[in-house]
Structure formats: C-alpha cells, structure tokens
Symmetry: none
Subunit: 232 residues, 2 copies
DNA sequence: ATATCTGTACTTGTATGATAACTTGAAACC
DNA sequence: GGTTTCAAGTTATCATACAAGTACAGATAT
C-alpha cells in the first residue's frame, strides 16, 4: 500500500494519516510494536525522512512512543479514545454521570456569572427559552435554555464548553426516566419548576441563589440517572 | 543557544521543547514566521533532521503551519493558551481571563469533589505536589498540583478537562507578574500559602472549605491578570 | 545445569548533501 | 504604470552514512 500526497496534503501528512488510521483502527493494540522504519518505508513507498516525521507527529499526539534500539510502540489505541474530549466514551454508562458532573461544575458557575453579567436582552432570551421547554417539551429546548444562560456570562468559553457536551447529555436520556417519575407531563412540569427557580434568581441578579438553583437542577439529573443505573 | 539532550530526552525532544517555549512564551506572535530551518540548525547546533522533526511535532500540536517555499508560521501563541477547544476565538486579549474563568468553574467543583472522594494515596500525591511547587518553583509543578486534585475526584472527565487547558494557563505568565507582586520568592511563598489552605481543607474532607480555597486561589490569578492588562 | 558474559543483527537517533517544488520580491521589459 | 521574468530563499523529499541503544542467541564460566 503506497501512500500518495492528495488534496494539498504533503507526503508526510498522508503517511501520518495512514499510520494513525491503522493504529486507531485497532490493527495495533497498546504495547504493540509498529513495523520498523525501514519496513514502513518500503510498505508506503516513501523515504525514511517522511516516515520519521510521521512518527514524530504521532508521538506528539501521544499515540506512539519510539524507543531507540527497540522500535516504535503504541501507547494509545482505538479503545482509549478519551482524549479529544469532543468524543467522550459515552458507551460506558457511568461516563454519562461523569460528564454530568463536569457539566454541573461549568453550569453552576455559568449561572452565578450570568446572574451578575446578564444584559436585558440576554435575560429575555433565557425567559423565552424556558417558555419553549414548556411548550415544545424538553428534547432540544432544554439544551437551548442552558446555552442561553451560558451566553449571558458573556464569556464565550462557557458556551463553547457547554456545546461540547451537546444536547445528548441530559434530555434525550432523561426521557426514559418517565417510567420512574410518572408521565411525561409530570416530568415537564417538574423540570419547568426547576427552571423557574433558576430564572427568578437570574432576574434578581442573585448570584448565589442562581448557583444553588442550577446545582439543584443538575444534581437532580445526576440522581435520576443513578437511579436508572441501579434499576438495571 | 545550543540545545543539549538532557534527562532521557532526545535531541529532537529538547529542540521541540525549546521551540515551543519560545512560541508559547510570546516571542513569535500569531502569523509570525519562524527562522528558516537552516537558521534554526545553526542557532540550536543541530542537524536539519532534528529541526524538521521538531517542527513536525509542533505542527501535530497545531502550534505552527509550515508552508513550502515560504516558511514556518505560527498559528497559535501564548495568549491562545494551548486549548484545542473547538474553535474559540482566542485572538482577543481578554481570552486568557475567559479561559481562567472556565477553569475556575471546573477546579472549584474539582476541589469540592476531591475533598469527599479522595483516597489516602491521592491526598498523599496532592501533598507531595504542593511540596514540589515550593521546591521547584511554580513552572510546571503548579499545574501538576491542580491535576493531582482533579485526579482525586475519581472522575476522569475533570482530569481531561483540566489537561485541555495545559500548564500554560497560569504559571508561566504569572511569573511576569513578579514586577507587580514583588520578587519571585515572595510570589512562590504567596502561592504556597494558598495551596496550603486548599490542602488542609482536603485533609479535613471539608468540601465547602476546599471549594472556597480553590476559588480564592484562581480568582486571585484572575485579578493579577486583570491588573496586568490594565498596566499595558 | 545454571548463570553470566559477549557478540551480532536489528532498531532508532543524528548528520550531511543533493534535488525538486514552491514562494516571494525585485529587476527588467514593454 | 503594469506585466513578465528571474533569482534567491524556503520547505519537501530522497539517499547514504554512522552513532547509539536493544534484544536475543550462543559461548563461556561457575
């Protein structure tokens, strides 16, 4: 299999991608040794310079670790993805709770800051978002509500961080919750009450109350989730 | 300035670190061109192979972008604080503070959870990390201290989130702070005192005290940063 | 028989020189 | 003034050579 530079890529980039694909694709397990540089050269039809720079790139990404005299060894593979963080391993059930805990950290502070910094337009957007949850159900509207609050911090980092988790974290899953908490109607009413507490604190510009309300809201979600786990 | 391989590092690694330090240290702004490979070779006293592999590593980290025929250009610098965080616009000066605010959110909760969940081994690691800051200075040791606390949450998400910011966020820049806060010695002693407050709360398993101490620590950093901005 | 030493083949690390492909800016030209 | 051309400089790639380290087989000593 000979790599060719395509689409503006250099040979080195193409080789890097090819190699990383093989590693992340599972061809090499953690601890496995890659073919030697010489073998990779003939396999990919490139010079040693190219192979070495590709390996250097993989090393910088923490994918492999070359050991002089011994070979190049894989230190991370498809199963230990964790790192890009955009794609947290949601397969593990517990990881949902772990993400929820991190999200709680960010959103509690988000609410605290929003209470102080929010503009008039921003609080209006928040109130409107809360209304939408009642009207349309929690599916995506709930996430929009949380994003509206993050935006009211006037710190784009909070918005980015929140969006990184995506709407998947709570609502969609939480809906399976209805078997435990009663009908969907009850569930929406319940969520709505928690949202109202947050909105009022933001209206009052009461930072601590906002933080408390948000913490209650999200820790509630955590609890419901844990209950789901136990129910299995 | 000639780099030498030290501490198990290869020449390439040493060169990579030296170069990345210069970039993150602010010597090259975004869009600036690095010295040519030939110049870097003579400057660091290494072969072109080494320089090229170092650049390949920086490229993999998204720090620079080589353009054939033109040169190697910086695409991220000290003020964009390492964060591969989606595509946040870190160009604006205030972004350091924004990142710091997000980090505060995460770390305050991190301290709170660590106080409750920490194991015996974990608290030992934290104490040891605090000692290292005193001994070696804040450079990288400070970040290790914060990571140790994140690990004591037993929630890998917190560790990942923290590592995303990287060690650059506070310490390196905060050192420039010495002009404002007195000698480096004073600065270390000051930081150390704040760390001790956090450690004691964690030892006592006092979640709220840990959260307060951590908040004070990081909001202090924010304040020092804001002062730096105003001083411009 | 076991343990230790040694050598050899293989591997990565570094240096050097050559050529190709490309960019950029200035000089020459119309 | 605007366009073309060219030369110098830059990265990309290749090839070769040697240094330095590892690992394993086989010899050697105990």
């Amino acid at each position: 299999m000979i790599v060719k530079a395509q689409g503006g890529d250099t040979l080195t980039e193409a080789t890097t991608k090819a190699l990383s694909a093989r590693i992340l694709g599972g061809e090499f397990a953690i601890g496995a040794r890659l073919p030697s540089e010489a073998q990779l050269c003939t396999a990919y039809g490139v010079s040693r310079t190219v192979v070495r720079e590709a390996v250097a790139a993989l090393r910088a990404d923490g994918l492999v670790e070359p050991r002089r005299g011994a070979g190049v060894f894989v230190v991370r593979d498809s199963l230990s993805v964790t790192v890009p963080f955009g794609e947290i391993d949601f397969d593990r059930l517990s990881s949902v709770i772990e993400v929820l805990e991190l999200r709680t950290a960010i959103e509690v502070e988000s609410a605290r800051m929003a209470a102080i910094r929010r503009s008039g337009a921003q609080i209006e957007a928040i109130v409107e978002a809360a209304r939408a949850v009642t009207a349309e159900g929690p599916a995506d509207a709930d996430f929009a509500f949380h994003v509206a609050i993050a935006e009211a911090t006037n710190n784009p980092c909070f918005v980015e961080a929140l969006k990184m988790f995506g709407p998947t974290a709570i609502p969609r899953k939480a809906l399976e919750d209805k078997a435990l908490s009663g009908t969907p109607q009850d569930y929406i009413a319940f969520i709505d009450e928690e949202h109202q507490r947050i909105v009022e604190a933001l209206l009052d510009q009461d930072a601590e109350a906002a933080a408390r309300a948000m913490r209650g809201h999200l820790e509630g979600a955590q609890k419901r989730y844990r209950r789901l786990l136990r129910a299995r």
